[in-house]
Point group: C2
Chain length 312, copies 2
């Protein structure tokens, strides 16, 4: 190896893929992104390798970290599937990137990887017990318990978005009814906004300013739009119900929420905290912190870096 | 120390206290029980010490294990409180029994202690990730994660009975609405039976055979009583909903249920498993076992023994 040691990070999502270059002490030097190429994994892997090589300028990395949105086998380095990407089944990404870059590859589910990143570099530093909630198109999670990532028996732990909070609630993409994800994810927010709009239209009321998705909702709420603030408060109620359940089961010190919570900040988190105060026994609230991801919109890159198996 | 080494176990509940004598390799030699004395902890501690001395016949134990039904500080050996026993607040039981018996004392919440006992000696042997659900007057829990007891930040983890499964459901003793405990615990079963009886009476239908509590319910169901079998099935539905939620969050290999599940066996567990099969993604069901506590009605004594800090 020539030159300073470098680490490569790959944040692999259903809509975007980011490849980033790091120093071993967590300084991001550069990044390249591209829209996920529909269809099979092959062209995406080729592009990841090409961008990685460009970033590395012919050097060999000491480790590669991959954070991927979907169930996977971290031990064998195989992505089992990525929701909404039909071509990504049983992709041995660890083997492929390992042989291309000549370095050890770490692979982790994005919920777990984000939990590890926030634990090491973000809002969860120093916490032994941490729950991370991905809050974007869907809702996932990652658990740091007694200081270590907890993956479960089938490496499926942390599917916080699919515990049911409303019996006979709206249908979830997973096939069940009333999952947390079916009420509070970005997808669910867009669906609920559409329903609300339809109701207002039926009543002959104006619907011009009604936001169409979570991004617009947060923007409108920041302009003090009454409808949007109320709608966010309702969403915060669902999230608080789900997070309360997780707290009664796991008694964490910190709960950290991603994407939408990062964008909305206290407009979402304050009503959530108020509802948590109503639902949680006082003993559970002692020192409890409910925070947005501190790594903000860089969390994806950090999560990839954080799971790279850097030799010690 | 003279003679063979002995271990003392104390299973401390709101209605009954059991003191048991053990060999270090988990053979129970004898036990004494008494009804918990109402009021302050003092007379109960005196009785525990007296019975312990009788069992030990003047010998000194090598360790004492205490399983207690309520929040406690296992590090300091202090019982913080026992629900429904007003006199048990901040009881330094570890110090007291330690000085009386001249041996190290281990103290653990009963949910945790039962999880440890079933993991070491019962239905959870060999499992790395295990959820124990106490199912008696109330519903509690204990979590073995990655092979070790998981207690949480405030030692409160495992309050499975107080996650909410039915928004605006019946009031729980804890002050919230629709907790799992408010629908499927022994107390909830008795309340629901009473409500059902009142409805039948209003309709002028016979109510003679309607059981009054969980014990009678299980007995009637074993006699193939149609009402009782249906009522158990409904209860299994609530339990399945709660256990499903825990499985999505923790992805355990084994879920073990106590007391009422031990008494009812497959009459409760078969409809539970059917409902779990409906609610869980296939990936989560791989190798999943849902079992009654194998240590059965001896689980209390085993749980006390299991937390005794036997010197190695």
């Amino acid at each position: 190896m020539s030159g300073d040691p470098r680490v490569l990070g790959v944040d692999l999502g259903g809509t975007k893929i980011s490849v980033s270059l790091w120093t071993p002490d967590a300084r991001r030097l550069a990044r390249r992104t591209f829209d996920t190429i529909p269809g099979s994994a092959g062209p995406n892997l080729d592009m990841i390798i090409q961008l990685g090589r460009e970033l590395l300028e012919g050097k060999k990395p000491i480790a590669v970290g991959v954070s991927a949105g979907g169930p996977l086998d971290h031990e064998r380095g195989v992505i089992l599937l990525i929701p909404n990407l039909s071509g990504w089944t049983n992709v041995p990404i660890g083997e492929r990137l390992g042989s291309e870059f000549g370095a050890p590859v770490g692979l982790e589910n994005d919920g777990n990887a984000c939990a590890i990143a926030e634990h090491r570099f973000g809002a969860g530093r120093g916490a032994n017990n941490l729950v991370f909630v991905t809050l974007s198109t869907g809702i996932g999670g990652g658990l740091i318990l007694d200081g270590r990532i907890y993956r479960g028996h089938r490496f499926l732990a942390g599917e916080i978005g699919h515990h049911v909070i409303l019996t006979d609630g709206p249908p979830c993409g997973c096939g069940n009814l009333g999952c947390l994800e079916a009420l509070a994810s970005g997808t669910a927010i867009a669906r609920r906004l559409k329903e609300r709009k339809r109701i207002l239209e039926k009543k002959g009321q104006p619907t011009d300013g009604i936001p169409r998705n979570a991004r617009e909702l947060v923007e409108c709420a920041k302009q003090n739009d009454f409808f949007s603030l109320e709608f966010l408060r309702e969403t915060a109620g669902y999230l608080a119900h789900g997070v309360t359940n997780v707290i009664y089961i796991l008694d964490p010190e910190v709960v950290i929420l991603g994407t939408i919570a990062v964008a909305a900040g206290d407009l979402l988190l304050e009503p959530m905290r108020a509802e948590l105060a109503r639902l949680l026994w006082p003993a559970f609230r002692k020192d409890l912190k409910v925070l947005p991801a501190q790594l903000g919109f860089d969390l994806g890159d950090y999560s990839a870096f954080a799971v790279a198996p850097i030799p010690v």
